[in-house]
């Protein structure tokens, strides 16, 4: 794996982590103990989108 690819991997993981932490922070700032169902749904949609992108990439080979 090239350096650029390893960094891309680290960036992808960190980006996802940041999105999660940002959602936690927003919830705490608003005085909530946990994320709303709607907020959870956004993560579910992102996961679906990533899985579809991965499948498209696999099928293109």
């Amino acid at each position: 794996m090239k350096t650029s690819e390893a960094l891309a991997l680290a960036i992808a993981l960190t980006r996802e982590l940041n999105a999660l932490m940002l959602a936690y922070k927003t919830a705490r700032d608003e005085g909530r103990d946990e994320l709303t169902d709607q907020e959870v749904e956004t993560f579910s949609v992102r996961a679906d989108s990533s899985l579809q992108n991965l499948q498209a990439k696999i099928d293109s080979i």
Binding site: M1, K2, S4, L9, L17, E34, L35, S44
Partner: protein
């Protein structure tokens, strides 16, 4: 651009230089240089012209080898040239990451993910159901993104392989591994969806499903970290 080698390191140039020596001796003999040693002298103009043409031919071959493009003449040479060009291209792209550095990057990412709170944001994550559910979906996304990056890397490595059979095998293996990762991530995503739908009906069952799915996702992430 292909790397150049020192001109005198070229076997062609060395051979041509060696071939030139007798010609130089013969030409020197035209002017009576060291006749006693070589006992050879070209008398007629025709022979002299032939010798000069030979010398010019050798000189031109050397010039062409040094300054002109040198396409390979055989399949073997073509393959060797292609392999050399690909190797140089890989080096020019900045090289491949060392296993230690990759492990460090991934370990730092994993440590960040494993922290009970995010230091730069200064908050504490709770263990509430929805928070962990969102974390699970986030892990699915991370696994899918990571698998995509790894797939790209493996496809690129396969395309650099000169042997067609080996290239096909590498592509097939990369594709199968990515498909396996995707299928497992998809199953984890489906399990999270089930846990989410169970929450209002049977919280204990939902909690159990969530915990077991998060373990699967941790294992998938470990696989990605350990198999770059």
């Amino acid at each position: 651009m292909l790397e150049i080698i020192k001109k005198l390191d070229s076997g062609t140039v060395r051979g041509l230089i060696v071939a030139t020596i007798p010609l130089l001796v013969l030409i020197a003999s035209f002017f009576g240089v060291d006749e006693a040693l070589f006992q050879a002298k070209l008398e007629g103009w025709g022979e002299k012209i032939v010798a000069l043409v030979s010398l010019l031919g050798v000189a031109w071959a050397a010039y062409a080898r040094v300054f002109k493009p040198t396409p390979p003449l055989t399949e073997k040479a073509a393959q060797a040239t292609q392999t050399m060009a690909q190797e140089q291209e890989r080096r020019r792209q900045g090289g491949y990451i060392r296993a230690g550095m990759l492990a460090l990057i991934l370990a730092l990412t994993a440590i960040l993910a494993a922290l009970p709170g995010c230091a730069q944001l200064g908050l504490q994550t709770s263990g509430t159901f929805n928070d962990r559910l969102a974390g699970g979906y986030s892990a699915v996304t991370a696994v899918a993104e990571g698998a995509g990056v790894l797939l790209d890397a493996r496809v690129r490595a396969a395309q650099a392989e000169p042997d067609p059979d080996r290239r096909s095998a590498m592509l097939a293996a990369a594709k199968a591994d990515a498909q396996n990762l995707k299928d497992q991530a998809q199953q984890a995503k489906d399990a999270l969806d089930i846990a989410r739908s169970l929450r209002g009906v049977n919280f204990e069952a939902a909690e159990e499903r969530l915990v077991s799915t998060l373990r699967v996702l941790e294992a998938l992430q470990r696989y990605l970290e350990e198999n770059p």
